[in-house]
């Protein structure tokens, strides 16, 4: 019954049980999760969205992709999700992968309006043929983690923007994927909600011990959340700088007001200006 791929299945099950916390290894010691090598992506033969993009993603990383509009951040995520394919170069997962290894959160919550909160979170399991009864515990636990357990029978239209986004996050992590891609998930939210979700996202990542690639336009958000910031420039889209924010997790409001935070923000901001200067 458990022939090929059983090692991964076992690890995944452990990941679920190992609940409260998996502190990620220090930055230098993390095993490779996936690698993008020399990626070019051209649309319609002449729009060069990405040129020579290389990036190694390690297990436990929280990577922010930071860059001006049009530099190919979304395109990079779509390539990783195999929604489109690179014109040149390749993306390889260390040890292969399957659909359950990936969770995605878009800028809009992208919920099914005809389904309740719990049914929305059930979706990834449902598509694998799992009945609701058989995964009810996982679904409810995911909802508990995002603080929405009480709302399981509510329809999305009754939720605020921030709550919808929480449902979307719960859906992305309910299957305990190894990698979660987030494309400006909080861009449309007000700042207070955004801060709160930033805190919660970090707590969640700690709990389920996944890897995150997070696209944002906000220097502050990228510094607060990530331990690696990949700064990209446009025309053609490429990586121009990578910064590390080697500050311990959990990070809290004290970190937001620390001088280290300010220093990281300054260097990220400088790198972003450089990216925009080159683009101009």
């Amino acid at each position: 019954m458990m022939a090929g791929g059983s090692a991964r299945a076992t690890r995944k099950r452990q990941g679920t049980n190992l609940m409260p916390s998996q502190t990620p290894l220090p930055l230098g010691a993390r095993p490779e999760l996936l690698k993008m090598e020399g990626i070019d992506k051209t649309f319609n033969g002449d729009v060069v969205a990405l040129k020579g993009l290389s990036l190694q993603v390690n297990e436990g990383d929280f990577i922010s992709l930071l860059g001006p509009s049009g530099c190919g951040k979304s395109t990079a995520l779509r390539l990783i999700a195999e929604l489109s394919h690179p014109t040149r170069g390749r993306i390889t997962w260390a040890g292969g992968h399957d659909t359950g290894d990936l969770g995605v959160v878009f800028q809009e919550p992208t919920l099914m309006p005809w389904a309740t909160v719990a049914e929305n979170v059930w979706l990834p399991f449902r598509l694998r043929g799992a009945s609701y009864a058989s995964v009810k515990d996982e679904v409810l636990q995911a909802l508990r983690l995002v603080g929405l357990e009480r709302f399981q029978t509510v329809y999305p239209r009754e939720l605020s923007g921030g709550m919808k986004m929480r449902v979307s996050i719960a859906r992305a992590m309910v299957t305990r994927p190894r990698l979660i891609l987030m494309d400006e998930p909080f861009a449309a939210l007000d700042e207070i909600t955004r801060f709160r979700l930033n805190n919660d996202l970090l707590a969640l990542k700690e709990k389920i011990g996944c890897t995150v690639i997070f696209v944002t336009h906000s220097v502050f958000e990228s510094v607060f959340l990530s331990d690696r910031i990949v700064v990209m420039a446009a025309r053609p889209g490429r990586v121009i700088r990578e910064l590390t924010v080697d500050e311990s997790y959990p990070r809290d409001e004290d970190f937001r007001t620390s001088s280290d935070y300010a220093a990281h923000c300054r260097s990220a901001s400088d790198a972003l200006h450089e990216a925009m200067g080159i683009a101009a």
Binding site: L83, V104, T110, M112, L127, E158, L159, S160
Partner: protein, 287 residues
């Protein structure tokens, strides 16, 4: 803000001046919705009656509302049987239109080739007036019922087809991407994403199709002409016309109109029940 966020707090209801005004306006709206049309009806019936009486119009030219009503009661058994026949054709045609329309729409969205091949002909069938096609149908189709059904179906299936096709194709593109990432099969995408997305569109098409299948059934009866057992309302109108039985024509007309209204109201109710939990169209916003 959201009502959901306040749940559990259970605050005492606070009614401010705004709320009170809105509640009053809502109540007036509710009353007006029924009383105003009823008033218009009463006034028109009264005027109709007066015009007939004052001008001494003979009943074989324009009967008064009283006579029409009398005829409706007197001929009720015959008219009601006819109405049942027409209703039966209409509902059967609607059912076939739904099956055919939805089935074709699903085929169209599964394969571009099928859509490209057949869509133009669906349009041609739709734009050709049914009165022009109906005589041919009755030449080639022996069974009277089958002919009527075919006519009614031809008129009714297109709105179902085009609305459902539109709905199936209008599933949120991010959700489509998500389904792809999660490895959904074609069937899962149809079942869990496209069909629910199409539901509001389909129901819109269904309401139009309900009215059209009645029109189709009536037109077909006119064309089919011959009477006997199983004649519908349209045939009764024709027959009464030959005999200058104008009150009966009016009575039958009222029955047809009433049937149309009932079909429309029934389908609207169905639509409301299916969508009220989640769709914006069924959501009551503060005004």
């Amino acid at each position: 803000m959201s009502i959901a966020e306040d749940r559990g707090a259970d605050p005492a209801p606070i009614v401010d001046a705004d709320e009170a005004r809105r509640a009053r306006a809502r109540r007036l709206d509710q009353i007006g919705k029924w009383t105003l049309p009823a008033l218009v009806l009463l006034v028109s019936l009264f005027l109709w009656d007066r015009v007939v009486v004052w001008n001494e119009i003979p009943h074989y030219i324009l009967p008064g509302p009283g006579l029409v009503f009398e005829t409706l009661i007197k001929d009720w058994a015959m008219l009601f049987d006819a109405a049942l026949v027409t209703l039966q054709i209409t509902l059967m045609a609607l059912a076939v239109a739904v099956l055919g329309g939805v089935g074709l729409a699903i085929l169209f969205t599964q394969s571009r080739w099928i859509e490209m091949s057949f869509y133009p002909y669906a349009v041609i069938l739709q734009v050709t007036p049914i009165v022009a096609i109906a005589p041919l149908i009755f030449i080639y189709v022996d069974s009277r019922i089958a002919g009527l059904l075919l006519c009614a179906w031809l008129v009714a299936f297109f709105p179902v087809l085009s609305n459902t096709t539109l709905g199936l194709n209008s599933a949120d593109h991010n959700l489509r991407d998500l389904f792809r990432i999660m490895g959904a099969t074609r069937w899962q995408r149809l079942r869990y994403l496209q069909l629910p997305s199409a539901l509001p569109y389909f129901l819109g098409g269904l309401r139009i199709a309900g009215g059209l299948s009645l029109i189709g059934a009536v037109v077909a009866e006119y064309v089919a002409g011959t009477g006997g057992i199983g004649s519908g309302l349209a045939f009764r109108i024709l027959e009464a016309g030959y005999r200058l039985n104008i009150p009966r024509m009016f009575a039958a007309l009222i029955l047809i109109a009433g049937m149309g209204v009932i079909i429309f109201a029934g389908l609207s109710f169905l639509s409301h029940m299916l969508l009220r939990k989640w769709h914006e169209s069924a959501l009551k916003r503060e005004r």
